[in-house]
């Protein structure tokens, strides 16, 4: 991982605080230093659109908008954002919906550091 990711703005959106913290902690261990944590859809959408998030981890089940909805709404203005859908709904229909919606990664909960690392390989490359 030669790319300096310390300044890359990353959004972690999940309504469950512990999961949010865990993911942020994993990201920090990988060198990401600019992490924003949010707990609902509308806030996440605003952060992606206005605060220039380069990576967005979006939980599907969030109040306001689901992660898929946030991605669909944000995609138009921020096509460069690297969307990763995080969910415990691991059905292949969900995977296809996320990919068709423009997601670059799909993480099934419960996750480990390895999965987060693997998904971000495409981003750092």
């Amino acid at each position: 991982m030669k790319v300096d990711v310390n300044e890359v703005p990353v959004l972690v959106a999940d309504d469950e605080p512990l999961m949010r913290q865990l993911l942020a902690s994993i990201l920090r261990s990988m060198g990401y230093g600019n992490i924003t944590q949010l707990a609902d859809g509308p806030q996440a959408l605003q952060a992606i659109q206005n605060n220039g998030m380069r990576i967005a981890f979006l939980d599907i089940d969030m109040p306001g908008f689901t992660g898929l909805e946030v991605m669909a709404l944000a995609k138009a203005t921020r096509p460069d954002c690297f969307f990763v859908i995080v969910t415990s709904h691991s059905g292949v229909d969900n995977v296809l919906a996320a990919l068709n919606g423009g997601a670059r990664g799909f993480i099934v909960k419960p996750f480990n550091a390895q999965k987060i690392h693997d998904v971000l390989l495409k981003f750092v490359q």
Partner: protein
């Protein structure tokens, strides 16, 4: 069939159209030719008539001139008489010229001139002095006549020709020629005139006999009609300025001419008539003669000619139409036949293709169970070496492999026949390949105590371009055939390179039973063997040599045999093998023998299971036997594994689980392996994926690689190759060790503690929800638990919470309770105080 019908469809289809066009062209050409002929014939007929009429008009003019001249001679003699008698006054004229003697003299003069009707001497006041009709002359005064008036008006007028007048007595027409009589000093004494008979002229013209439509006319110079045949009273004395005479003399200003006109004709009541008129001025006199014939006369012959020509034209049209319609019909029927043939051909080809497809499919279907048989036999042999079971397994293995090679041959042949054999263009070393074949076949030769040698003719290119797999297949087939049919002696494989032809040449020589000339012809035919008795003894399908010849032909070469019964055989096979770019030539054998080629030979073939690997593998495979077999292999290698049966399940499992490698069958229901791999790669899945498939053609491999597969293992699974691929890919997994474990994360202890602390409350809620059957709430709580617990060191909670969620979604009270009981009884929760939750257990 292609030999008999070499023309492409587009051309043959058009032949009847070409014939139609040709027929149309010929007919038009015929019509044009006939039309031109008729046109020229008409011109020619007119020209001939023109000459004829011109000549006729000349004759008539000469005749007219003679007769008019004779009449004028009469007038001249009267004038001479007047002169001779010295008449000087009008009175003297009366006395001198009114005598009986003068009368007789005049009568004598006109007696030989039938055209002259009368000769008259007129006094200066118009009184008739003497005339030939009777003596003495009656008292008639002619002062009012046109000729008299003309001479009075113009003293210088020499001669005058009058309009014709009708004789009231006999009804005949006469015109008068007159001349002045003058005294010695030019004084006007009177005039002499002769009556010229129009009737006489018209009777003469009648004799020319040009036919009913022809006319001959004499005009005064001012186109006043003097005489005519056929005679018409109404036209006499009329001026005609519409006919051909006026055209020729006045309009064209000619002395004589022949014109064709279509103008109103006086004799036809002013109707327009096409006619040809030859007009000619009579030299020396103000007279014009005209001969006219109408088209019914001068075009008569042409019309007969045209009619005959038209008849001939019609007959040839009919003949051509008949001939061409027969021809076109024949062509059409031929085209139809060809179309039928083409259809039959495509039907036959489709049937042949279907046969090949069927054969290919059947071969594939046979290979699949055979794969299991061979695989399990390998397992049995490995587990029980030296024991009876193990020996049995070895027999099964040997026979299975033999059967597999036959099936592979059939599959290859059906691919060749269906035109689906794709050849690769790779760079390979001919020496290494030949040595590989030699090494592989040496044991077989050894088993029969045969000497088996490889002879390489140097210099040989280090690298050539071609399909090494197929070339090896050819050499294997020829060498194994040679070993098979040789009981004593040796087998030799010789390899050389024909630089001029750019071909690799291999010669396999044996000292075996050989084969007779008559059997050599059908040697390279499918399903045929040299001799049926030989076939019974040695067995075989007869496919090997056919396959060799087909492969060699496809690779731009050929195979031929030289043998006779009992004296061994020499097979020579060539393939086109261009030199690789910038290739070196080997002058001698490479110093160190190159290790055998195929990857399977690089791994210790004795016991591939001697290797131990570690890792967690996901196997996606829908075939039950293959699944069992591969699971046994994985276990044998010390790998843990999970199994799914379709591509969609593979995607779900790979994303949810923690696998080090995915073995992905390609042909699977729901979602095939290629698609599943694509989806996984798109979703950011980064662990190795290995394709499992029977389709290992170059383009297939490219397809799998493009989808994101790291490697491919061919079916039937070759254990050594399988182990090697897994060892390589699982070894790569070590790189992932740089990722921190949870324990190393900053603040993980606190988060984990918070989660653990929240568990009691969560179980409380869950228990209460189940007790009150609030299923929506239960499902949501269980879902969250499922998604998080695994990350905080409670994988069991995640697993069982999924059961609770499933039961809640189905409002399954019994199932939910049971799962909940399991949940709180989990071993991993021993350090968590679940006592509070237990009270909800009923």
């Amino acid at each position: 069939l292609g030999i008999f019908f070499p023309l492409p469809m587009s051309i043959t289809i058009r032949s009847s159209r070409i014939a139609t066009a040709l027929a149309t062209f010929l007919m038009l050409a015929t019509i044009a030719t006939l039309g031109l002929a008729v046109w020229f014939a008409r011109d020619q007929a007119i020209e001939e008539w023109r000459d004829q009429l011109d000549n006729l008009s000349l004759v008539l003019a000469e005749q007219g001139a003679q007769e008019v001249k004779s009449a004028f001679l009469v007038l001249d003699s009267i004038a001479e008489t007047v002169d001779a008698n010295g008449v000087e006054t009008a009175a003297a004229l009366r006395t001198t010229m009114s005598t009986q003697r003068q009368f007789d003299s005049m009568r004598d003069k006109i007696r030989g001139l039938p055209q002259v009707d009368v000769a008259t001497i007129v006094a200066a006041n118009g009184d008739v002095v003497n005339f030939t009709r009777g003596y003495p002359a009656p008292p008639i005064n002619l002062a009012d006549r046109d000729y008299f008036q003309a001479h009075i008006r113009n003293h210088k007028l020499g001669v005058y020709i009058s309009a014709p007048v009708r004789n009231k007595g006999n009804g005949e027409w006469t015109f008068y020629l007159s001349r002045k009589l003058t005294g010695p000093h030019g004084e006007f004494l009177g005039m002499a005139l002769v009556g010229f008979s129009s009737t006489f002229l018209s009777q003469f013209y009648r004799k020319i006999n040009l036919g009913e439509e022809a006319t001959v006319t004499l005009y005064r110079r001012d186109f006043l009609l003097l005489a005519r045949w056929p005679h018409q009273d109404a036209l006499m004395g009329k001026i005609n300025k519409t006919g051909s005479t006026y055209q020729a003399i006045e309009v064209h200003r000619k002395k004589h001419d022949v014109v064709v006109v279509q103008t109103p004709r006086s004799s036809e009541n002013g109707n327009e008539v096409l006619r040809m008129g030859a007009a000619r001025v009579i030299e020396g006199y103000p007279l014009v003669v005209n001969v006219t014939v109408t088209d019914t006369r001068f075009l008569a012959q042409w019309r007969r000619f045209s009619a005959v020509l038209a008849l001939v034209g019609c007959l040839s049209m009919i003949a051509m139409t008949l001939i061409f319609s027969v021809l076109i019909r024949l062509l059409k029927s031929r085209e139809h036949d060809m179309e039928e043939t083409r259809k039959l051909k495509s039907v036959a080809e489709a049937a042949s293709m279907a046969k090949s497809d069927f054969l290919a499919m059947m071969s594939h279907e046979i290979r699949t169970p055979l794969t299991s048989i061979i695989g399990f036999a390998e397992l049995l042999q490995k587990n029980r070496p030296g024991q009876p079971d193990g020996n049995t397994a070895a027999i099964i293995l040997r026979n299975g492999q033999h059967l597999l090679s036959i099936i592979n041959d059939i599959l290859d042949i059906s691919k060749i026949e269906a035109g689906r054999l794709a050849l690769e263009q790779l760079t390979f070393s001919p020496v290494e390949l030949a040595e590989g074949v030699h090494a592989m076949m040496a044991s077989q030769a050894q088993a029969k105590a045969l000497r088996f040698e490889l002879v390489v003719a140097y210099p040989l290119p280090a690298q050539v371009v071609g399909d090494p797999t197929r070339w090896k297949q050819i050499l294997f087939n020829l060498v194994s055939n040679a070993i098979k049919f040789t009981e004593l002696g040796s087998v030799q494989l010789a390899v050389r390179y024909d630089a001029a032809a750019g071909q690799l040449v291999a010669t396999v020589t044996d000292t075996g039973i050989g084969l007779a000339q008559e059997h050599q012809a059908c040697l390279f035919q499918p399903f045929s063997q040299g001799d049926s008795s030989v076939a019974r003894k040695y067995g075989g399908t007869g496919l090997g040599l056919y396959l060799v010849s087909q492969l060699a032909a496809r690779m731009g070469g050929a195979v031929r045999v030289d043998s006779s019964a009992g004296r061994g055989a020499v097979f020579e096979v060539t393939i086109a093998a261009p030199l690789a770019q910038g290739v070196a030539w080997l002058a001698v054998a490479p110093a160190a023998p190159v290790p055998a080629l195929a990857p399977r030979e690089r791994v210790d073939p004795a016991d591939p299971f001697a290797r131990r690997l570690s890792g967690h593998v996901l196997l996606a495979e829908d075939g039950r036997d293959n699944r069992t077999l591969i699971c046994a292999f994985l276990q044998g290698l010390g790998l843990t594994h999970e199994v799914v049966e379709d591509g969609a399940a593979a995607v779900q499992a790979a994303l949810a689980g923690n696998f080090d490698l995915v073995l992905m069958d390609i042909q699977m229901p729901v979602m095939d392996g290629v698609r599943a791999t694509e989806v996984l790669r798109a979703a950011g899945y980064a662990r190795p994926i290995v394709a499992l498939t029977a389709n290992v053609m170059a383009e297939d491999l490219r397809r799998y690689a493009a989808a994101g597969c790291d490697s491919t293992v061919g079916k039937p699974v070759n254990v050594a190759e399988f182990v090697q691929v897994l060892a390589r890919l699982l070894g790569d997994g070590a790189a992932a060790d740089t990722v921190a474990s949870f324990e190393e994360l900053d603040g993980y202890q606190e988060i984990q503690a918070s989660f653990q602390a929240s568990l009691v409350a969560r179980f409380d809620e869950l228990g209460a929800g189940i007790a009150h059957e609030r299923w929506g709430e239960v499902a949501a709580l269980a879902h969250r638990l499922k998604g998080s617990a695994g990350s905080f060191g409670f994988p069991g909670v995640t697993r069982v919470a999924a059961h609770v969620e499933g039961a809640a979604l189905h409002s399954d009270r019994q199932g939910a309770r049971k799962a909940f009981e399991q949940l709180i009884a989990l071993e991993e929760l021993k350090q968590v105080d679940t006592a509070g939750a237990v009270k909800w257990e009923i």
